[in-house]
Amino acid sequence: MDLSPVPRLADAGAVADPAGPWRPLAPAAATVRAIAGAIGGAVLSMPVAAALAGLLVGRLGVPALIGGPAVVVTCPIVGAACGAWLGYLRWRRTRWQLDAVGLHVRRGLLWHVEVLVPRSRVQHLDVERGPLERQFALATLVVHTAGTQTAALRLSGLDDHDAVALRDALIPDATQHVDAL
């Protein structure tokens, strides 16, 4: 078997280890995931807070001046804490690996998913950096294929250098032009 992509792995520096173990996301990404999770959790807790406030004040007769603020303060805090915890767990669960075959990604807390994008199937690549990610020198790698379901694989929470190195290592080889289509 001709593993012609292998020599290019060297260019990718430390990222590319042909028999490499599964690599975690960047440590800083844990913070970003937790912050994002906290924001999401707080927003999602708003309707719960409204319902709870209605129940306490309306039905159970708790004075509005006590019940209202108590709920409005507590609910988002609990929601944010849950969201942050989930975000952290997701971060810990996500693993990736680049080998001679392609990019492997494993993730999912309850619904486990493992995806493989072979090198030869990569159509084009994006590196995205959101405002929060820029603060922590992180980046999101988006790998596009010609497929339908996994037409784009997003891997967020990579160290910026890793993301760029991964992108360079995965750039389709123009001389091979076997798109399998």
Binding site: G102, L110, A146, L181
Partner: protein, 511 residues
Amino acid sequence: MSTPSDPIVPGADAAGDDRRLHPLSWLFVLLQQLRSFAVPLVVLVATGRGGPALGLPLVGVAGLVVVSLIQYVSYRYRAGVDGFVITSGVLQRTRRDIPYERIHTVNLHQSLLHRIFDVTEVRLESAGGKEAEAVMRVLSMADARALEQLVRERGAACRDEVTETAAATLDPADTRLLALGTMDVVRLGLISNRGMVVVAAVAGASWQFADDVGVARDDVPGLARDWFRLVRDVASTYTHDAMTMAIVAILILVPALILVRALSVLLALLQYHGFTLSETGRQLRVERGLLSRVRNQVPKRRIQVWRIDETLLHRWFGRQALRVDSAAGSGDDEHAVRYLAPVATPVTVNGIVGHLRTDDVWPPAAWQSIHPRAWRRYFIAPAVMTIIATAILTWVEGPVGLLTIVVVPLLWMRARALARFAGYAVTDRTIAVRGGWWHRSWGLAEIRKLQTLRVTASPFDRRLGMATLWLDTAGASAGDGVLRIPYMPTAEAKRLYAELTQRMTAATTTS
């Protein structure tokens, strides 16, 4: 400049060989443009609401005629050495170069009017793009065939200059793989549910334009309403008689069903009359249509997935349907080959697949079954839902609600049937997946055409030691979804995942 009846010679005289479209092109361009204004125009004329303002649309039409004429005069194409050169536009001149090797298919479309003048609309399609590379509206039939021939020869020559020069330039013979007779097409109409599409479209359109035509909205389904009222009156007289109710229900349903099926047959005849599938070298060609003839092609190597469908009705008629997902051309049915065999006996369908995929045995000798307890996964979720629904119904409606529980044994039978039929088969080059219960389907893909692999396991899966393998391919429609092998034993899923991982990449480097 050459007249349209001269033979097309590629690149002979690069400077002076500009060609025009058929002299009647302007007429078809005009009709194309008018189509978007047709409905308002008809409504204006029909209702007489236009009155003195009727002159305005006529001025518009006259303007469009001029535009169409200018478009005809300014549009030139040339068959160069490496590809077509198309120039168009008056104020803003556009020049487009389309290399022969980029053109994957040449699709011809002939409406009734096209056929009267012996001309055709030509679409040059490349891979992937949603839009055609070029639409030539219109060419004479002779020119179109010459152009098709040219693309086939030059394209093959460009692609395989190094490997197979002699074989590619040979004019390949046309092999007919399937021709449908009128009875087959009638069968197709009876099996398919196209009639419902018409019913929905007519209902929608009548609702939309009811006001424009000066009819009150409530009166549109007047006939249907009268009929319904009569039925209701009859029914209310004998409300306690279940027999009468049943008869009344049948009186409504049977004519409706017959009407819809009749519409289906009519539509099938319009679209699929004279359907032929033939093989020309590397291309598969489909021709079909009663009034407007469609002539589409797909290169065999662009086929991503082969799909066979067998609904309950198919089975009653002893037929199946064969479709392909392809990466060439636009996704819609009108401009791409979708059905290789819209209706054919299983023997014929298997024969076509076997013939076109000569390196494989089709159908596979043996199917690997999924996890022995997979039926539980098919059964439990719907059964629990049914039981909850039964509980709610019983609570609301009384003991009658308990009747819903009879669905549960049916669900059990369904689950057993689904689990029994689901399976997969891996050969040297392909992977095949089958599944379904009353609607059975088969999918066949080349391993080197797979794009990505994915294994998923939900908590329920893991409790029973199962995993689902997803095989992503290009060109799959949203309705079909991606090929997948559900509820495999985890160890087997992992083994197959690893094996396919190796072979997907190994196959590409050698091909």
